[in-house]
């Protein structure tokens, strides 16, 4: 019997958010790449919430973009509404979030994949990885096709042995009724990879024409839209936005849920997987936060070509009839028709401690993994890992040194470091509190932080990188100028201050000190800064932030310097940690597997368990 047999450099398994980034990165680095999906109609599918970004996730997308990823560009093309969250807070926690047109998002990404040189997009279920002498040599599909390759990137998302549950109904499918991938798990286990079960869930989609929006509060997007991608011209994406709506659950909703708890597979014990605490089902919310009289719900559009609305805040695995009953208690949803049921989904994934920070398996050379398969959750977390797994797979094939992003330079670094070193019992979500250097890791400076790395890898063009260097120079020069400047007390100055509700100055002041006043900013003070050069907005923003929060920023830079010092101390591989009596036994085996690691790492996973690296050594 003859079978299809082809040869590639890299095989990517799964075309979700992680897989797309991985495949694009490999192809863009010149490698012959094939990406498999169980359905050509589910490329970059958003099976849960219809948005990209949000607190700290927005940071991930900006960083991804600075490293040459696709997600930012893709959402800029397909968003329906955009908002900068936390605008009243400090710049470190400003975060972009956009509502996506799901179908358009998927279509655009598919187009991008298909237009990409060196990249083949193929519908098939990968059922086997081929390993020889601890090294990946290929992958096989369910239909028997053999694909020889030098690296495989696993981005299987929630598809491995997936089952969807609500009430006592169990459907053995992936998300959205798509085919589950039932054969690959066994092949992975055969090759020494340990799998575990995680669980997540999604709310119902409701027919928008059956919703009474007059009973809800309309939620608008920002007036001026900020793009995700540093390559997108802001002026090109200003458009009429689609609204979301806010409504609430009430006592009646909660009563129905409490009454039917025994019919939820979460509570009846049918679900074995571990679910995320940050994304609780409405059942969980009602049980764990019994004192809350109501929970917020956001009703969000799924796209322009469908009338489906996503009910954010009310994911559930209740039986169909209870779902109807409980959604109908919500103001505006009294007569709502459900289009797709809410459900919980269980799937195979790994404890990412089996990976190096490059996202390569410790046990199988050439096998990489990214996305929800690694025990994370969220499109953005997935995409970020997909990119890193992808470019590292490519770098390995090319015989180049792989790249590890560290905690002090990016949220992506924090994400991966947490995943591969910390113990986790639930799908991992990025949170701003997980980044210890968040004052430096802002969404506004992701290009300044990471373009150099993206350029060195080969995913950022010379032209783009030159601009970042130029921008950096302009910022530095302008900060230096502003720091030297003093402002005298005169009528022009004090008139401006008064008009901005700021206390007039009686003696001369440093210009910086004026900028630092909460009610003032670099831009607002332009009229009294005659020598100011004409600078682009993105430069002015950096000058303002760096001056305004200088004290805090300097403190963090010092912490980072210290962190780097610890990180740079490599502890040689081959130390027998059993000879270190004070090291708790439970950490010895873990650390034994790490090979050569940095001192910071050692402290991190070994002696101190989890904690802040910067605080550890000194």
């Amino acid at each position: 019997m003859s079978v299809v047999e082809e040869t590639y450099d890299v095989v990517v398994v799964g075309a979700g958010h992680a897989g797309c980034e991985a495949a694009l990165a490999c192809a863009r680095l010149g490698l012959k790449t094939i990406i498999f999906t169980v359905s050509m109609d589910s490329v970059a599918l958003m099976p849960c919430n219809p948005n990209i970004g949000g607190s700290s996730k927005g940071h991930l997308v900006r960083e991804l973009d600075a490293l040459g990823g696709q997600m930012g560009i893709n959402i800029d093309k397909t968003f329906l509404q955009s908002k900068m969250l936390n605008k009243s807070k400090g710049p470190a926690v400003h975060s972009l979030r956009a509502q996506a047109d799901k179908l358009q998002y998927s279509v655009e990404m598919k187009k991008t994949l298909q237009a990409q040189e060196n990249l083949t997009l193929r519908q098939a279920e990968v059922s086997e990885i081929m390993v020889e002498d601890g090294k990946i040599v290929g992958a096989k599909t369910f239909s028997g096709g053999t694909y020889h390759c030098k690296a495989v990137v696993l981005c299987t998302g929630t598809y491995l042995k997936a089952r969807c549950l609500y009430g006592d109904v169990i459907e053995y499918t992936g998300p959205n009724g798509l085919k589950a991938a039932n054969t690959l798990s066994a092949s992975l286990e055969k090759n020494g990879i340990e799998l575990r079960r995680f669980k997540t869930g999604t709310p119902a989609r409701i027919d928008g024409s059956t919703i009474d929006y007059s009973k809800m509060e309309e939620q608008f997007g920002d007036e001026r839209i900020v793009p995700f991608s540093f390559t997108t011209d802001p002026d090109s994406i200003q458009k009429k936005q689609v609204s979301c709506y806010l409504t609430y659950t009430n006592e009646k909703t909660h009563e129905i849920i409490r009454k039917n708890l025994d019919r939820s597979p979460m509570y009846s014990g049918v679900i074995e997987g571990t679910g995320p605490r940050y994304c609780p089902s409405i059942e969980d919310k009602v049980v764990k936060f019994a004192e809350k009289e109501r929970h917020q719900l956001f009703v969000e559009p799924e796209g322009l070509s469908t009338n489906e609305m996503y009910i954010s805040g009310m994911s559930s695995s209740m039986p169909e009839d209870v779902q109807y009953e409980m959604y109908h208690t919500v103001p505006g949803l009294e007569h709502a028709t459900i289009v797709r049921n809410a459900y919980a989904i269980e799937y195979d994934c790994i404890d990412a401690n089996q990976l190096y920070a490059t996202l390569e398996f410790k046990k199988v050379k050439g096998l990489f993994a990214g996305g929800q398969f690694n025990g994370s959750s969220g499109y953005e977390e997935a995409a970020a890992q997909g990119l890193v797994a992808g470019f590292n797979a490519a770098l390995e094939v090319l015989g180049r040194e792989q790249v590890v992003l560290d905690r002090s330079e990016s949220y992506i670094g924090v994400l991966i470091d947490d995943l591969v070193t910390k113990e986790s019992h639930e799908p991992y979500r990025m949170m701003t509190s997980r980044a210890e250097y968040r004052l430096l890791l802002r969404q506004d400076n992701a290009d300044l932080r990471l373009s150099k790395i993206g350029h060195a890898i080969g995913l950022i063009s010379d032209e783009r990188y030159d601009w970042v260097c130029k921008k950096e120079e302009l910022i530095e020069k302008e900060i230096a100028r502003v720091k030297e400047k003093n402002i005298g007390s005169n009528k022009k100055v004090n008139d401006l201050l008064k008009s901005l509700d700021s206390i007039p100055v009686t003696n001369g002041v440093k210009f910086c000190d004026l900028i630092r006043r909460p009610e003032l900013s670099y831009d607002l003070l332009a009229p009294i800064d005659e020598e100011r050069p004409d600078l682009p907005e993105e430069v002015r923003e950096q000058v303002n932030i760096n001056i305004k929060y200088e004290g805090y920023i300097t403190r963090q830079i010092k912490q980072v310097e210290h962190f780097k010092k610890i990180e740079s101390k490599k502890i040689p591989a081959g130390i027998d940690y059993d000879d270190v009596p004070s090291l708790p036994v439970k950490h010895r085996t873990g650390i034994q597997n790490f090979g050569s690691i940095s001192c910071g790492h050692f402290c991190f996973v070994g002696i101190f368990g989890t904690g802040k690296v910067s605080k550890i050594i000194v």
Binding site: K89, G90, V93, E561, K569, S582, G611
Partner: protein, 457 residues
Amino acid sequence: MLEKDTIAAISTGLSEGGIGMIRISGDDAIEICDKIYKGKQKLIDVESHTIHYGHIYDGDTLLDEVMVSVMRGPRTYTREDVVEINCHGSVFLLKEILSLVLRSGARPAQPGEFTKRAFLNGRIDLSQAESVMDVISSQNEIAAKNSLRQLDGHLKNQIVSMRQKLIYEIAYIESALDDPEHISLDGYGDHLSEVIRPIMDEISKLISSAKDGSFIKNGIKTVIVGKPNVGKSSLLNVLAKKERAIVTDIPGTTRDTLEEMISFGEFSLHMIDTAGIRDTDDKVEKIGVKKAISMVDEADLVLYVVDSTFALDQDDFDLMEKISDEKVIVLLNKSDLEVKVSEEDILKHLPKKKIISISAKEHTGLDELKEEIRSMFFSGEIALNNEIFITNERQKFSLEEANRSLSQVCGSIENDMPEDFFSIDLMDAYESLGKIIGESLEEDLVNQIFSKFCMGK
């Protein structure tokens, strides 16, 4: 805490006598030392790797005559600038000089920190990494244990409760940042001020109590043992000059332990009165007896009190066997009455131990006891743990750090800074307090966020 700051510690044991040494390492080591040292030359002007004779002054007060070694990095143990002050090794002086150095800008070294710096600065070869890590982690363990052991249970609870309040607020801010559409921070600054002001007051009180020494049980751990009703509590009361323990004629009155700090000038005794030890069927008393015996194992010095008006019995023999390996002073109490126990009787069971006849009631023999303890201390026979003093300093330092962070928060609130800036300093305060009770951040925060606040989707 940053690598660059300057650290100091007593580098010789506190009890060895003769010469004592304080080591200072870091960028400001020489500058700090110049503030307190007077000699022919300013240390900043002397050549590296030279030794200088001079005096240490606290303001105008002469503290000691010293030899100071100045070694500039990188040819030093830590590869940083290092100054070593060699002084007369009295415990009192070493403590005074270290305090002075700390007041002048250094911070107390963490356990193993000189070695850590040596390692981080590339002084120690990679092949030594293993043993370095071992030293560091085991010393951390000891420090954490010390810190905890010396901390009064009540104070520990106080710190735990302050930390709980702080982590709750941090989690609130963080959950609002992560989920701004569900959790609002409107007017939060005012609320936070109300929460942290009382915490700052509480910490200030702790700092002042740390200064007068009552904060830490900082002394030679001395355990009083003996059969019931031989006068152990009376002895404690007489030494402490107050009626603390209940003194009755009923054997077994002290069923738990009682503790007292007794100052001997240069050092203190952390004196612990235990339940009388005898074979008993009384449940509560049994627990006390068990505890008393376990205290003996941890003691630096044991005072064994015998009622000399009764002949020794089996309980005494058992007890003497248990303490025979410890540093023991035997006290023949009630020497004002008719004595039935002689020194020889004791020496048969406890050879070579010092025996003193006293009367707790008539206050006789007490001077001799004090003199004996003093001489044991200065001969180095019993030691005040070097760690204890430095632990006290570290704890004080951590409290001060916590308060500095909290006043930063107040500053941020007053300056109308955005709320995410509050949590940075709150976190630092939380961690500083954690150092005192030996707890780090771990997953506290994320757990708090999820358990206390209902998040998203």
